[in-house]
Subunit: 356 residues, 2 copies
Amino acid sequence: MAVTASDGITHDELRLAARNHAMPLEALSWPVTPVGLHYLLIHYDVPVVDPAEWRLVVGGAVNRPLELDPDQIRARPSIDLTTTMECAGNGRALLEPRPLSQPWLTEAVGTATWTGVPLADLLEEAGLTTGVTDVVLTGADHGVEGGVAQAYERSLDLATAMTAGAVLAYAMNGSALPPQHGYPLRAVVPGWYGMANVKWLARITVTEERFSGYQMDVAYRFRQTEGEPGRPVTLMLPRSLMVPPGVPDFYTRRRVVGMGRIRLTGRAWSGRGPIVGVEVSDDGGSTWMETVLVSDVPSLWAWTGWWCEWEPPGPGEHVLCCRATDVTGESQPMEPVWNLGGYENNAVQRVLVTVV
Amino acid sequence: MAVTASDGITHDELRLAARNHAMPLEALSWPVTPVGLHYLLIHYDVPVVDPAEWRLVVGGAVNRPLELDPDQIRARPSIDLTTTMECAGNGRALLEPRPLSQPWLTEAVGTATWTGVPLADLLEEAGLTTGVTDVVLTGADHGVEGGVAQAYERSLDLATAMTAGAVLAYAMNGSALPPQHGYPLRAVVPGWYGMANVKWLARITVTEERFSGYQMDVAYRFRQTEGEPGRPVTLMLPRSLMVPPGVPDFYTRRRVVGMGRIRLTGRAWSGRGPIVGVEVSDDGGSTWMETVLVSDVPSLWAWTGWWCEWEPPGPGEHVLCCRATDVTGESQPMEPVWNLGGYENNAVQRVLVTVV
C-alpha cells in the first residue's frame, strides 16, 4: 500500500471522509458546538453497546479493582468540563505529498461540554500501587490497522492521568453521550489532540511498565521516515479558524462577498496555554492586523472567539488568513511542517474570497 | 468547470465530503438513527437563526396570509412522523464518469422521528385560492449554484402538498431540531428524496403557475446531456444496505470476518411503497438467498429491517450484495444507470469481505 499520494483523493480516502466528518466552518459561530456538528473520527466501527451488559473495569496495578455499571458511575461526584478537541490529523490533506489516511482539511475540531467523573478520583478510589508508570484506556471498538488486529487503546503517563484534569464522560452538552461520541463512557483529556480521548471505554489498566500499544508507538508519532521512532503527538498546537464570510458557491465553496465593511469572526485554541492574539491578513499573509479576542466560553480548555472589521480593498480575488499565538509564544506557520503521518498541521487557514 | 471526472476525487469534492456526511453503515443497527449519524447535505451554509427574530411567512395565493413565530407553530396540533430520508445523489461517486458534486458512496441516508405541524393543515388555515398549482418552500440559506445566486427553494405540486403527509417539523427524535437539520423549522416530505425536505424554512408561497426555480428545473433532474430538460427526481427508488460484517481495516474499510456462521443484518426502503423482499448474495450477485424482513419501526415511511444467516464458504475474498424489491415490483439494478447529475443510483451495495 502506498503511504502518500500527490494526485487526486483515493477511493479509500473518500470512504473515510464519507463517515468521519469535520465541523462545517460556519459552526464556529456557536461557542459550544451543537451535537452533530462536532468533528468525528472513528477508527473502526461505532460499537452498539448494551448498557445493561456494559461495565467499566479498572484493574492492573491497583489495590482495589473496580467493576462499575453505568448507574454506579453516575452516582459518583461529577464535574462539567468544556473542551475544544481537534484531530491530530487535521490539515493532513493539505500536505504534499499527502499521507494516506483520513483526509482532513482544516476543520476537524469541535467544542463540547462533557459531564463525568474525574479520572484521578477513580484511580484514587482504586488505589495505585507504587511504581505505576502508565494508565491504559481501552475502547470497545475493534479493527485492523497497519496489519495489527486491535481494540483502540491509548495510554496516559501517570502524571497526566492524575493532574491533567481528564474526565470519564457520560454526557455531552447536557444529554446522554451519543453513540458516535463514545456511549456509554469516554475519556476527555483537556488540551490533548483527539486520539487521547478514548471512546466506548471498556477497561482502565494501570501498568508498572511503559505501555507500547499500536496507537502509541506506531500511529500518532511525528516522524519523517518509516524507520525512525519519532516523537509522540500530544498537546494541540495553536490554531485559528475563520467563519468564511459572504455566501458560498455550492461546488467550489469559494466565498462571494459584496463590497463594504463586514465583520470577520472566528475562534482560536491551543492545548499548550491560552490564546493571547489572533491576527488576520487579507493579502495572503503579507500584512496582518490584530483582532479583538472574546472569551465567550468560560473554560480554560475551550477556544477563544475573535473578530475584526474588514473593508474589502476592491472587487476581485482575495485570500484571507488568520494566525493565532498562544501564551507560550508559539504561533502558526504559513506553510505546513510535513511528516509521514500527517499530524499537527496547524498552518494558517486560507479562505478564497471573490469580492463583487 | 468540468462536469464529470474519471480520475481521483477532486479537492472541491473533498471539501464537500468533509462537511456533508453520510451515515456510517453500522448505524443501520439503530431503528431510528441517533442525531449526528443521520446523513446531512447542506447546499450552502447552516444559517444561524435567532428564534426571537424568525417568522414563518405563508403567502401568495391564499385568502389569509400567515406570519407565525416558533411558539405559534408549536401551539398548533402536531404529529410525529418517522421517515427514512435519502439524498438523491446517493451513489453518485460510484458512477463512471463521475458527476462532480457531493461525492456520495452508498450511505447518504438516515431515519428520524420528526414532530411538527402537517403542511396541509397550515395551507387549509391560510385558505388556498382556486387555480393553485404549486407550493414553494424557501429556506433561509443562501448561496451561488450553477452561477445563480439563490436561496434554497423547492416546490411541491398542490396534490403532493395536500396529500403526501408532509410535515413542518420543529423537533427531531424528541429534541429541538439541531441547526444542521433545519432549526427552527423544516419540511419533511415522506417518500421523497432529501431535496424536497427544505431546511431552515422561512417562507411558503402558494402560486397559481408552475414554479420554475433552479432546484426544480436545473438541478435534481434525471438526464443524459446538458441540453435536454430531463425528468424531475421525486420519490426514492428501492435500496437495501447491509451492516458490514466482522471488523474493518482502518484505511481500506475492507471487512475481516472469521469462519463460522454469522448473522447478516441490514435495512431496506423505497419511497414508492413497502419493501416486500430483500435478497443477499455472497458471490457478487450470481446466486441469491431470501432474507427475513423485520418491521421494527412502526411507520409506513421508514425502512424495514432484514437478516439472514450466512456461512462463509471458505477463507478468502468474497463480495456480499443485497437487493431490495418494493411492492410495485421494482428492484435494484446490479449496475448503475448513469445520468449527468448523478441521481437515483440505487445499484446494489457491494461489501468486500476477507474471510480468515
